[in-house]
Amino acid sequence: MTHFDTWVTFPYFSVGAIILWCIAGFLLFKSEKKSSKEKIALLVALGGVIMIGAFITILWISLERPPLRTLGETRLWYGFFLSAVGLIAYLRWRYKWFVGYSLAMASLFLLITLSNPDTYNKALMPALQSPWFVPHVVVYIFAYALLAASSLVAFHGLYQHSKNQLVQETLDMANNLAYIGLGFLTFGLLFGALWAKEAWGHYWTWDPKETWAFLTWLSYLTYVHLRYRHPDAIKKPLWALALSFGILLICWFGVNYLPSAQQSVHTYTQ
């Protein structure tokens, strides 16, 4: 099977996963805690995650390279990890709304890819053919998914706060996700540095993408310090968290549109 044929099958996988997630979300919101309905809902949602995982696997095989190069390809991973993180977080904290958010976000990313199919490019430039490539990007995308989730929780917290219904668990969850996400972000940054050293002889060149990745890292770092200093503060740290996600988005999409973009080796276009 060629990679064209693989992309042609994408609508089945993505629409299938989205339908499963809708059913799972519906069942979950109707279910009681620890009921069999809840278990079925989780299994159905897991089915959706597995479908996307399967598509990534098939695409990887047919491309003969990891599907981590174009924005469309990275959106697949985002959908995969976001839904997976949502489920894992549910098993840990049992927040229904959080599963709802993360499955909705994951569906959104699949829909974007569905409506805007990327260039079906098989070529991978020599510098990217490195054992560091997969860990660098996967760790990054996992970090992005966690940090996106933490921002969602932060917005939910601000909403709860405005209704005077803020619960401590929301703050703890935003925190936990941000901490763990920051840990992965650090790994992504450092893996990138080690790889760049092997490929280009320089671990850090202040390439615009690297610069914005550093900014993202720094802003989450600032959040963590604010939170450490003011464990009970609500609005400011939550806003800082939401803002950090804005910087993350610029790093991910926006860099291509900045005046400095022509200096970047990280622009994911042709």
Binding site: T2, N116, F184, T186, E198, G201, Y203, W206, R229
Partner: protein, 412 residues
Amino acid sequence: MTRPTHEQRTPLWQFPWGYAESFIFGIGLFLTGCILQYTIGSVKAVHYPLNMYFMLTFWFGLGFVHYFAKKTSIVKWLRSVPLAVASSVLVLVLVVVMGTIPQASYDPTIALDPLGFSNMTESWPFAFVMFLMLTNLGLATWNRILPFKVKNLGFIFNHLGLWVTVVAAGLGSGDLQRLSMDLYEGKTEWKAYDKDLNDVELPLAIKLNKFSITEFPPKIAFANRETGKVMSKGENAFVMIDPDLKAYLYKDWKVEIVKYLYESAPVNGIYQQFNDDGAAPAALIKLTNQKTGKIVEGWICAGSFRFDGATLQVDDEYEIGILPPEAKKFSSNVTLYTKDGEQKTTDLEVNYPIEVGGWKVYQLSYDERFGRWSKLSVVELVRDPWLPVVYIGIFMMMIGAAYIIWTGQKQA
């Protein structure tokens, strides 16, 4: 629901200092840096052993200050979270500027502005703000080292790792040598050049035996006739000419590959097998419009340095052609000679540098005009004696990151 905060507001400049004092102080340092930059120009790099003395003095100086004055209000402030937040935000603002405007460190043709913002990493405002951040970071680290407690290990790895990485990378950049070397097939070269194109003689020589490129199969694509823009979106916008590719669909067109030659040259408009330098991929294709039944047939060719490519007009809007093949792998078979008579023959490839006499040699590029017929291979030589120190910092940060992932927010 409101909660009391721990902070009690005090009048400005009365201890304990908080966010306001930290920001004002940081901005003051930044402005001082601007004045310095305006009057004396960019920061000059320091070389070994001076940079080593700087680093040791900085580290143990902070330790000394911590040991003898950790309870004074000023040192408490210097290691405080408000200063960490203020200095991080200031670094963040400067890096936003750096990430937005093109940098001279990347492209030497960019003119330097009076405040050094277009060469941020070597500007005084940046150096001063970084110094403030590193002072804060260093003192906070010493505060967890002395007295030592096992539970502080995660904190120490994170903070000391960052301190070591940033300081070693910054001060060590003065000792970094980065040179390029042009190698021509069959010739031995012992001269390299730096970024200002000054010749540098090396204690080693490199002979290029053979430069080779393997390519991905070339891609067929449609292009807009008026703008010349290649259509890159949608299904089958690009199709690689794999050996088993016979036909495919793009929009309303069925594209059939009647004949394909990977190495060809035109003879009176017809492409024929050609096995010399400058051969280019060409295909005889037949397009059938699924709606109108219109048929277009003809040769398309990617072209090379030796002759132009050929496209085929599809309709009023589009033409079709072959894009130049992309390099899959390029490598140089080289023989390295060192002064003490050592000799080694090896393949040099992107992502796989080789080490010789304290230098790392990287495959950098080739003459792209000639593609796989290039007789030139450009290699880069890097000598970075501070790298082990930077790596120690990086690995400490990795341990710290693993610790954060493991414990989550509980570490606070």
